[in-house]
Point group: C2
Chain length 332, copies 2
DNA sequence: CCCCGTAATGTAACCGGTTACATTAGGTTT
DNA sequence: AAACCTAATGTAACCGGTTACATTACGGGG
């Protein structure tokens, strides 16, 4: 294996010169630079980044904790994180946690032991025990208002309210909702938006119109069943993410309930394929790309030791009307 | 920052003893072990893995190259890889390449510079220039017969043939096919299976029944259009992955063509949600989980310097009949 | 031609583990 | 009690970069 010392001796310069030639060439005379280049070429030298990282006490990598990488929304955010981290000179270590706090803890040891410089958490909750908060650089992407770490997110309450407001504006008054797990902060926020909207419109809340899902397509399939069996079905369904909305639409189809003619359905996230389904999904678009880049930038600032002036970064969402929603069918 | 020397001095033993207490405790007397434990506890010591990795000239991480992480099949494989690598003491560095060879090259420098010990490539083609083949540990998961690296895969030709055989057994003779990109080895293999099946059944190949997609849902939506506009439509559609099959079904729906009554549709991969769609997809299940674990095991064997006796590991696929296929409607 | 300031280069310590090798402790055999 | 063996421990070199600091080279002004 060719080391920097071999390069130095072949080039007839010191190791310091070689090191500088690589990391700050402006400090090296063009003559030396030339010699070093040639030697590197000849030896096929590649610097050992393990040594560099060790010396500089930086792993140049960030750990991304994802509840479930096969969730399409998360995978879009991860893609953006990875892309941007790469650009900034950092690698991305993947940590699929299956929503388990225990697994999160295991991954956290990677940053305790210096294998990663910081963490981006995608579950809307802190991965760190309070004792660790000060030592470990962490940001929460797609988190909620209550996460103790700096968070990059949208206003989930407002977004949910926007959707439900729209459904109400179409004349719907019995609006079913398929939630995520009750304890999930996103569920709480989006549910709050739902309630706000109903209240403003003077519609009484009806507990039978709530079904708990878990953000998977299967849970959408399943929860929709509840609504289909009802005597008096809702005329619209607010699903707390796109996957569940798609699942729900499959169930409606099996009951021969036409979307949007007989029931409107809305999603949340605007996953990549939401527009290709038939009917295409009315939904809230989260800026997945931007969430990823901002999360990386923010984390790196923390890693650099900067103290942030603002720890809640709220990005704008977009309300996208497609074909899964329609004014209520009037009984003439 | 507490180092191993601090621990040693607090515990009243040498650094070697501390090091051994951590990595091979059986070599240390229980008395020393005890003292070391206490000292570690007191100092909140965490070994610096950058130092360990540097010294042992191992990054204990593997690089996974993925053409597109938001492809559900890939994300399942990656999940399995990550999970298993973790179990074996390795981290996973993510490399989303957007199908670009240039980006692949960039990532490969991570293993040249020792940031990763090896590569798992998910694009069915080599990421390495021939000059690098010998230096870099690499396996190809979901590759094809022609990849120069050891490959973990299914028999794509046979799998495709199984599907088309089945369609033919249902009476279909005009079977459209939505392919992946023409240059993709999977496309070639699955197309070969399609042709074999037709030939065996004595059905003449009809070039107008082929539409080229690119494995995205959108391309399925798009390609299906071609078939819907035909004078004499095919009665079945063989799509080279599930995403395109789902896309195609959306288009068929917009043409009011019922699946499976008027047209049968098959996918490939058996992505997680394939069973929840309505109709649920008849498809080939690739053993994503096993592909991941075997890929990791194989790569680690290569990294350990073992020479493999068999470089083509062909795993069994499963043929799954669901509701998107049905015997052809006879003209009575 | 000398002096001096800046640019370029070199020397060697350092990062925090691991581990080869030397040394010591402790127990058993004769 | 001496001789001997094994287990446990300690010492210090080593991995391959980076960088503080010392030294040298070079060019312009006097």
């Amino acid at each position: 294996m060719s080391s920097i010392r071999k390069v130095a001796s072949l080039a007839g310069v010191s190791v310091a010169t070689v090191s500088r030639a690589l990391s700050s060439p402006e400090k090296v005379s063009s003559k030396s630079l030339e010699k070093v280049q040639v030697a590197i070429e000849q030896l096929h030298y590649r610097p050992n980044m393990l040594a560099r990282n060790f010396r500089s006490a930086r792993a140049y990598s960030i750990l991304v904790l994802i509840p479930d990488i096969s969730n399409p929304f998360f995978s879009e955010v991860v893609r953006s994180i990875e892309d941007h981290a790469q650009r900034r000179g950092y690698g991305v270590l993947l940590g699929d946690t299956q929503d388990s706090k225990t697994k999160e803890q295991e991954y956290i040891t990677m940053v305790e032991t210096r294998l990663a410089d910081g963490v981006i958490q995608l579950r809307p909750d802190s991965p760190l025990p309070t004792s660790e908060r000060d030592h470990i650089s962490c940001v929460n992407a797609c988190g909620s208002e209550d996460t103790p770490e700096p968070v990059i997110r949208i206003d989930n309450v407002a977004a949910a309210k926007t959707l439900v407001d729209y459904l109400i504006s179409l004349g719907h008054r019995r609006i079913g909702v398929i939630t995520g797990l009750a304890k999930n902060p996103h569920t709480k926020d989006r549910f709050a938006g739902y309630l706000q909207s109903l209240e403003e419109a003077g519609i009484e809340f009806d507990g039978s119109l709530v079904a708990e899902g878990d953000f998977t397509m299967w849970s959408g399939v399943n929860s929709a069943d509840h609504f289909c069996r009802m005597e008096q079905r809702p005329t619209a369904l607010f699903c707390m993410n796109d996957e569940m909305a798609l699942g729900a639409m499959q169930t409606l189809k099996s009951y021969n309930i036409d979307v949007p003619k007989e029931m409107s359905v809305t999603g949340f996230d605007d996953i990549k394929n939401a527009k290709y389904y038939n009917p295409s999904l009315t939904t809230i678009a989260q800026p997945a790309e931007e969430i990823g880049t901002v999360a990386v930038d923010t984390l790196l600032r923390i890693i650099e030791g900067e103290t942030l002036s603002e720890t809640q970064i709220v990005l704008p969402f977009e309300f996208i009307v497609r074909n899964s929603t329609r004014p209520i069918k009037r009984f003439v």
